[in-house]
């Protein structure tokens, strides 16, 4: 998992390779931005790694967590802009406007995201 994390760290630093598609380079790993809406999932495991088996990689693991969240925001899936009065829907089907934020699984994930972020930011 460490070797993988080191790789992910370098990918994310390289214009968020593997998270934000670069269509000019022919990227096709996430055409609908699902991964972008679920950027906290890897951090959940990275936080476990950080707390339980950091070895000498603590800083890199922490940085990778931050990069995942930063990538999600850069990729246009900033959940903090969704969980806002007036933005978050108060009515369900058929009034719901389909988006990455209202997709059922993504929405459940969005709630989880806030909890994951809380562990590294004071806000």
């Amino acid at each position: 998992m460490h070797k993988f994390t080191v790789l992910v760290n370098s990918m994310l630093k390289n214009n968020f390779t593997g998270l934000i598609e670069n269509t000019t380079l022919g990227d096709s790993f996430d055409p609908y931005g699902f991964g972008l809406a679920r950027t906290h999932e890897l951090p959940i495991s990275l936080q476990w790694l950080y707390e339980n088996y950091p070895r000498s990689n603590s800083e890199l693991i922490w940085e990778t967590i931050e990069l995942m969240f930063a990538g999600g925001v850069k990729g246009g899936k900033d959940w903090t802009t969704f969980f806002v009065n007036g933005v978050m829907p108060t009515l369900g089907t058929p009034f719901i406007k389909t988006s990455s934020f209202t997709h059922g699984v993504n929405l459940a994930e969005g709630v989880e995201l806030k909890l994951t972020i809380l562990r590294i930011y004071t806000d």
């Binding site: 992910v8 998270l19 996430d30 679920r38 959940i44 930011y121 004071t122």
Partner: protein, 133 residues
């Protein structure tokens, strides 16, 4: 998001290790039905699990390469919660294959090009990995 912490905010409660909380009654019945039924046999025959690109096969339904990881993500908690040795062995076999085939540069999964290497589905692999360690 404002200030940054210098240490992870601790969990208020320590999660129970997987397998220490077990089911009884109706819930246990349902988990056993799942394990003995379709959910517990996808690894035996279902093309998107048994024949997944994740274990050297040719099948995947999504560019996210999520099929087998989703299976792994549920089979681990199922296997350990009901202490099913058959399912534990399947999970272990899957994980062993994936780890044995880790790429030279550290990538986990069947993808070999930057265009197809999406990070997300690995989070499902990690979910199963961190609780079965």
């Amino acid at each position: 998001m404002s200030g940054q912490k210098t240490a992870l905010a601790p969990f208020k409660y320590t999660p129970f290790p997987l397998g220490t909380i077990t089911a009884t009654g109706w819930l246990q019945d349902q988990l056993e039905l799942e394990a003995n039924g379709l959910a517990g046999h996808l690894y035996d025959f279902y093309r998107y699990v048994a024949g997944s690109t994740w274990v050297g096969g040719d099948w995947e339904y999504s560019t996210l390469d999520e099929a087998a990881p989703y299976w792994f993500n549920y089979v681990v908690p199922l296997a350990w919660t009901i202490n099913d040795s058959r399912l534990k062995a399947q999970a272990k076999e899957f994980l062993d294959y994936v780890l044995d085939h880790q790429a030279e540069d550290g990538w986990l999964g069947p993808e070999t090009t930057r265009q197809t290497r999406g990070i997300w589905a690995r989070s499902l692999l990690c979910f199963g990995l961190i609780v079965s360690v």
